[in-house]
């Protein structure tokens, strides 16, 4: 049986933004009920990957490689087929709850839109479905007649989640669903997502730049850097070894490591993500990598297996602990 979602060397180019691909030969696969955490710094292409899966890339984007969902070749699919999948079988929660809801439409109407369209629910059935959805995401006391500006950030993100789950999708893409929220709310939202995913045997693609979130909520981890996959594998294996120096750097810079040291400031790795147009010829991470050697600057390293299901794209992976 083939995987639910399969990306096979998927590349995305935006000719308007330059010749360098924003996504460079990304491969991943996701089974039903499985959870995959995608991590990486800002600008590494996480959102691009999610938008490519939804077929909602910015106009002019050129996509190549393979993208299959439940056996269907999406890159060859007509727009109508995409529309039938979006919101029905693939749901998406966006990063910014403040702007992702229509400010002049009642949340009830926004929630009902998917079920009415995909499940052909009548007005009355849709209304009771909206109440059920609100209840399921912990908003039983919020009236569907409210407007988004009358809700807090956390409540809006719950509405977004209810909206993404409205038609019972097989795959949920959550693009930094909690970045805009404060710490306590973050935990609640992530717990809700994990619970709902488990309850419905829904596959979850959880995008974040917080390794702690991945460690707690994703069975498998995929680390991206400058549009490429640099390390991927079962979460325990990735965390135990952190074979790619970038993964290790992310961990060292994560809020948890810093909080353990008693201070809280914005985590950073030395140096910056190269702009897509200014990527070095060899390993993209070389300018920031302490382990960089001569061979690293010649040609980019390919993903290579380390042990069972654990791959890294590095000429000098860190040894197992």
């Amino acid at each position: 049986m083939s995987a639910l979602l399969e990306l096979d060397d998927l590349s995305v180019r935006l000719p308007a933004a330059g010749p360098v691909p924003l996504l460079d030969r990304v491969s991943l696969s996701l089974e039903r009920g499985e959870s995959l955490g995608v991590v990486g710094e800002s600008g590494c292409g996480k959102s691009m990957a999610a938008l490519a899966i939804m077929g909602l890339l910015p106009p002019g984007a050129v996509v190549s490689g393979g993208l299959r969902f439940d056996g269907q070749d999406l890159l060859a699919a007509p727009e109508a087929a995409w529309c039938a999948l979006r919101g029905r079988r693939i749901g998406m929660v966006f990063q910014e709850p403040m702007t992702a809801l229509n400010p002049i439409q009642r949340i009830g109407a926004q929630l009902a839109e998917g079920p009415r369209r995909h499940l052909r629910l009548g007005r009355g059935a849709a209304e009771s479905e909206v109440l059920r959805l609100l209840d399921r995401v912990g908003l039983a006391r919020i009236s569907p007649d409210r407007y988004p500006h009358q809700l807090s950030g956390g409540q809006r993100q719950r509405v977004m989640i209810a909206m993404a789950l409205a038609c019972g999708p097989d795959l949920l893409l959550a693009d930094e669903p909690t970045t805009a929220l404060d710490m306590t709310i973050q935990g609640q939202i992530l717990a809700l997502l994990a619970e709902l995913a488990a309850e419905r045997r829904m596959a979850l693609l959880l995008i974040t730049h917080d390794l702690g979130v991945v460690a707690r909520h994703a069975a498998r981890t995929l680390v991206m850097y400058a549009g490429r996959v640099v390390e991927t594998g079962p979460t325990p294996a990735v965390f135990a070894r952190m074979a790619h120096p970038y993964t290790h750097g992310l961990f060292a810079a994560s809020p948890h490591a810093i909080m353990a040291g008693g201070r809280r400031r914005l985590p950073t790795i030395q140096g910056q993500v190269p702009e897509p147009r200014a990527r070095p010829p060899g390993c993209c991470f070389a300018p920031r990598c302490a382990a960089a050697a001569e061979d690293c600057r010649q040609s980019p390293p390919m993903l290579a297996p380390l042990d069972a299901g654990h791959l890294a794209a590095c000429y000098h992976p860190r040894a197992a602990a």
Binding site: M54, T99, P103, I104, Q105, E113, H149, A164
Partner: protein, 306 residues
Amino acid sequence: MARFLAGRCAILLATLLAASVLVFLVLQVLPGDPASIMLGTSARPDTLAAMHHQLGLDRPLWQRYPLWIAALLRGDFGVSYTYSVPVADLLRARIAISLPLALLAMALSVALAIPLGVFAAARRGHLSDTLVMGVAQLGVSVPNFWLGLLLVLLFSVKLGWLPAGGFAGPRSLLLPAVALALPQAAILARVTRSSVLETLGEDFVRTARAKGLSRAAALWRHAVPNALIPVITIMGLQFSFLLAGTIIIENVFNLPGLGRLIFQAIAQRDLIVVQDLVVLLAGSVIVVNFLVDLAYAALDPRLARA
């Protein structure tokens, strides 16, 4: 919502009051004595004085303003110096032409501009977008009276389909309304297009697409309603231009509307008519802007609270 309404009404009344004071004062300092125009330059000083008294012009300004406003509120618009008939009767006959003309022009402009603007935005960069916006650019730069003359040449003189001027039933309003509407529609279409384009880039439109809405459904159900909020502001502003345009177009088409009346009244220093008319026009602009505010609040729930 109640507080919002009360606030808007207070602003409405204050603006009306300020506008009436301004109109009154400006017309008082205008040169030209109505009495001497009515009686001719050879009139004797005592007949002039008697006329001044009859028109109430011998009283000081601070007495004349409240008298005028009080009379207006009672529905008494005074008596025209030149026509010697109640101004109210004059206005009633003229409004019956000018109001339908303005409304028709506005309706035409909106009916044309909004679909075209949305269409151009949805097809951004395509040939049809370029075409629509090119025509709009042309429309923006054409003055309405010139367009009026062109329309008359084509449809009246050459084709003989519609009357060239004068008022002979609703058909007479068609050409002047088109002449008024097209330049406004051109501006409105451009505003609509850029507003829709901006809204199409918003996150909530992407959310709508993520729910499975087609491009068109996301456009009409989510982008357009949001994009119309700024467009309505422009429509309110355009109404004032429309009134000014009516005055000119009525003269081009020889229509016996308010515009012609105000021209004649100014030329003959029929102060009371000018005063009433200007206050009427200013009042309608203010009321329309009040309605725009209400429409705004009805469309955008975030405002009704503020």
